[in-house]
Amino acid sequence: MNPKLIASIIVVIVIAASVSVVYAETYKQKVNASTITVTDDLGRKVPVKLPVTRVVSMDPSNTQMMYSIGAGSLLVADTSYDWWPANSTSLPHVSMDSPASVEQVVNMTPDLVLATTIQPAQIINQLQNLSIPVLVLEPQNISNIYTDMLTLGKVTNHQSGAEKEVNYMKSYIHGVESNVSAYLNLTGNKKQSLLYMMWSTPIYSVGPGSFIQNVLVDAGAYNIASSLNSSYPTVPLEDVVNDNPQAIIVDYEIPGLTNITWFTKGNQSQVWNNITAVQNDNILFFNQTESNWMNEPGPLTIYAVKTVAQFLYPQAF
């Protein structure tokens, strides 16, 4: 190859490298000037430049957290799947069908983006590379919801709103838990055994390590799938027969499984008809709102806890 060409390529590379080093340094200094660094649910340390005035939410649960701490007015875009506090806002929606359009998000000129892991890591990295801070808020249990909301309060300068909301949630959960434990103490009953169904054939459920399992435990349930060594186990039908659950919860919108006839008249009715929960018709079919409470970790999760507890122990309330 032409030595002149090689030389010029080297020169260009060196110049580009030094420019970018210098640029990165100045950028760091800028960041240091008025930023706080917070840790999100992926354990990433995310520097956020203050004040935050334009926030994009890429998940309904994130939207809910924003509104619940009183920071809803900072949102400049949300998702078409948002349903709380209002069914649809006048804000522009980012596409929630992952992956989101990076262009669309950048066009909002946000100074903070909230997301969950529904978005591919590439999207989050791409935004982060464009100097847009992305917080992944996806709590794995209820106390994790509290810390996330306090973090959000700190970043958006709505600390007191966040503290107020977290205290309300804590007392709400405490109320439910004390009702249940008082009832169990009084009657001497054991915890109700529960099968939680997210799919029919095979039986897809939740186990230790999943958010929903933690909600079920908080509601005083004994989840029969918790003996299986997986966060989202496929429960063998014979385990169901052996554990013979007293109650069944069916998630919203499982095709074909919307009422008890799937159990009593379906293909495997010979098995299901002898399960206690089916015999006593003790089956809760989540409606869409209940399912959303359960599946979107955020300020509304407390209602999921109460719904499950009330279903399992109606006399306790």
Binding site: P236, N242, E253, P255, Q268, V271
Partner: protein, 328 residues
């Protein structure tokens, strides 16, 4: 050779029976052999058996074991005939577009009504097969080289359609995904019965043509000059095996490797001739699927998709056989 092949075929039948008994006593719920025997006696003579044990044995494990055997047999025999007719050792029963066609049917089924999933899976599987056949007809008979290419193209097309349907309606992703991974968790005596009827309807056809299948391995020209109407035999065998594979797929989803590996194992043991292979390959298929499914349903973390187990068993076996062949 002939004598030992007889012995081997019969011992395979016995092995299957042993496998059934072993599989019956294995599962996520521990039930001892004694409890099984006791409750079987009580159940059969209507004498108040233990409800948990008898339900697990008679309504969960046994129908599932039967389904594994029936589907394994279907995949084994379809795999064998497909490999023979295409003269391609990598042939499997899904080659003509069955799997991706069924996937489209299932995806549509989960949009419309889950009760229609098996029906639509079957219809679309046969549609894909039909398109492949229509593309590859020349001079009034099926051109197998064309059919492989047509099968691949049609598979790509249908896979794309299935993916698009899944992408459009994300809520049903879960159902389609479970279905695509395949599994025998939906086993019932009713399913078993209908698949069994289909199996005993097609099995004699395959057995009848085993002589022709031997000769057709020598290639079209030789087969024809020896008096085999290979065009007709090909069409009949491929249609029959696609039909019965589609039926199996509509019940258990797509389970790989069984149809691919069983004929190879069979050939190593009883030789190339279909005289015994036509019985041995399906028996091996039945045993592979039964063992795989027993492992799949007994895993400590809940059920594992059986296709993962068949791949874990099948791929090393296939690699071993390839090494053996290379050394020969």
């Amino acid at each position: 050779m002939k004598f030992s092949a007889y012995i081997f075929t019969i011992s395979l039948v016995f092995l299957t029976l042993v496998d059934v008994l072993v599989s019956l006593s294995i599962g996520p719920v521990h039930i001892s052999i004694q409890e099984i025997l006791e409750n079987t006696y009580l159940f059969l003579f209507h004498k108040n058996p233990d409800w948990t044990i008898s339900t697990i044995i008679f309504y969960i494990r046994l129908p599932r074991i039967a389904l594994a055997i029936i589907v394994g047999t279907i995949l084994g025999i379809s795999g064998l005939t497909t490999q023979t007719i295409f003269k391609n050792p990598l042939g499997d029963p899904y080659l003509t577009g069955v799997s991706s066609g069924a996937a489209v049917g299932a995806a549509i089924g989960f949009l419309v009504s889950p009760y229609l999933v098996p029906v639509l899976a079957f219809i679309f599987a046969m549609l894909a097969v039909g398109i492949s056949f229509a593309i590859s007809r020349s001079d009034g008979e099926v051109n197998t080289e064309m059919l492989i290419l047509a099968g691949v193209s049609v598979s790509f097309l249908f896979s794309a359609v299935a993916s698009y349907i899944i992408y459009l309606k994300i809520a049903n992703l879960r159902g389609v995904l479970f279905w695509l991974l395949g599994g025998l968790y939906g086993a019932t005596w009713t399913n078993d019965f209908w698949l069994f009827i289909a199996l005993i309807a097609i099995f004699p056809v395959m057995v009848y043509f085993r002589r022709e299948l031997d000769i057709m391995l020598m290639g079209d020209e030789q087969a024809k000059s020896l008096g085999v109407n290979s065009g007709r035999v090909k069409t009949i065998i491929l249609l029959v095996s696609s039909l019965v594979t589609s039926l199996a797929v509509s019940v258990v989803g797509i389970i790989g490797f069984v149809g691919l590996v069983s004929p190879h194992i069979g050939r190593k043991i009883v030789g190339e001739s279909h005289r015994f292979l036509i019985f041995v390959a399906p028996l091996i298929g039945a045993n592979i699927l039964l063992v795989s499914d027993t492992i799949a349903r007994s895993a400590p973390q809940g059920e594992i998709p059986v296709g993962i187990i068949t791949a874990f068993i099948g791929a090393p076996v296939l690699i071993y056989l390839l090494f053996r062949r290379r050394r020969m």
